[in-house]
Amino acid sequence: MTDHPADAILVLLEATPTGELATSAAGLLAAAAGIGTPVALAVAAPGEAQSLAEQAAALGAERVLAVEATSTQSELTVPHVDALAAAVKLIAPDAVLISNSIEGRDIAGRFAARTGAPIAVDAVGVSRDDEGVLAHHSVYGGAYNIVSAATFGPLVVTVRQGAIDARAESRPVVTESLEVPASGAASAAIESVEPVTETSSRPELRGAKRVVSGGRGLGSAEKFALVEELADALGAAVGASRAAVDAGYIPANHQVGQTGVSVSPQLYVALGISGAIQHKAGMQTAKNIVAVNKDPDAPIFEVADFGVVGDVFTVVPQLISALAERKR
């Protein structure tokens, strides 16, 4: 058996329904590389771990522990928790980093409950001091910055998707296969997974550098196309308010805000969005905010760097032409 690094940070790799490495892996491995030696754990269907391992090495994993089991495709959460427990036992990491996705939170929660490890959720960064690993959080819509740590033992950290821009240097692929005793813990059955095929070439909302969001002010799903048009002109991701999602203008995974995605882009453009506190909670840490709203008293103007009181249906087409003009 090989020696394991003394300052190991264990990163749980997530795979998409189609077997690709999830985009969160790059940030997790870079975060781990910043505070220790990144050791990745790949839990996959038989025959699929090696490809994940290669992708993880390219993103900075010093070595990859590979677990292959059919149960990962048929049972929710538990097979991953069993694998994580075995990996932690083997390498005794200083911290475990997991994506703050739905699956990631479940795995982190069950693992922490099983092992009694303290858990820090929705971190936007990690660091290390003399006493160990620290998790950095941005809470209440970015109004407060908080640092948390474990009193002792490894800290389990779920990391906000898209929060970490850093990238680690590529390393040679080193794969170690890991035997996992099944805990037999009760689990839910996965009956089916329908991959959502990506139909657009637009950037992903999480971690996007530019975001254009639309609200109820767009009036209908058809007219919401204006938001998409501006997004494309800016190479931006598309976001929305909850009211726009509730009205069926756009699917829920585009919702920005307290119960949607939190974004911190270079540029956030809010179109026909009033700026309710729950919406601001997900976007007010943007570097630059531009807003168009016909109500001069809309609260979105309180946080906008540049606000235009006007009708989106006249202002935005003009903006799109001006941008096109410039490109020519």
Binding site: P118, A150, R242, I277, F301
Partner: protein, 258 residues
Amino acid sequence: MKIIVLVKEVPDTYGERKLDLETGLADRAASEAVLDEIGERALEVALVHADAHADTEVVVMSMAPETAATTIRKGLAMGAGSAVHIADPGLAAADLGLTARTLAAAIRRTGFDLVITGNLSTDGSGGVIPAMLAELLEVPNATALTSVEITDDAVSGTRTVDGGAMRVRAPLPAVISITEALPDARFPNFKGIMAAKKKPFETLSAADLGIEPEDLSAAWSIMTAIAEKPPRTAGTKITDEGDGGTKIAEFLIENRLV
């Protein structure tokens, strides 16, 4: 069937929410407290099932300061049959681990076929409590459901995961969490509010549950620093006079955003 719905009292998100910079805890005096909207939706799922199945018992449960009793009672007014309130000053600074252990002990004591929680609370936004409870209670977890079907011996539903839509099914007993894609909750009516006064309301301490809040043999997650960020200030605001779009383009160019 016995369904326990976990609800939480949270600072009203429509108001300014504050953290105490000394303790890092929510400054409860700074904003009005309300029943978390997602908990109300979780209760609605249980009540809809109870409406159609007379033998359903719905219990609302919360771990919250003593002052939260009125908020929890709203769950009774909406239609839950009884309430369990774990109120103990020793639990005021509980981390996720202690919260989960305490809730699990109370759930076990009450007995259950199904536990329904919100996917994310608006204050903690941890979203890990449901999975932690499932592990401690030794039952399956099916989280972030956007649709729920409950039968006598199983619960199933749909969840939207990154890159796909997943159908899951768990035998009962189980823990599920639901998202805000599920319908908004009913309002308590006058009859409900009157009836709530007579419904069983149990208040428990940590000791009642065999929980030792200051157990230092357990590892804790602690806050080591807190800082308030200065609020964002408004920049330029112009009124469109036929050149609003051009003005935005100029702003973007000047600031090298395009």
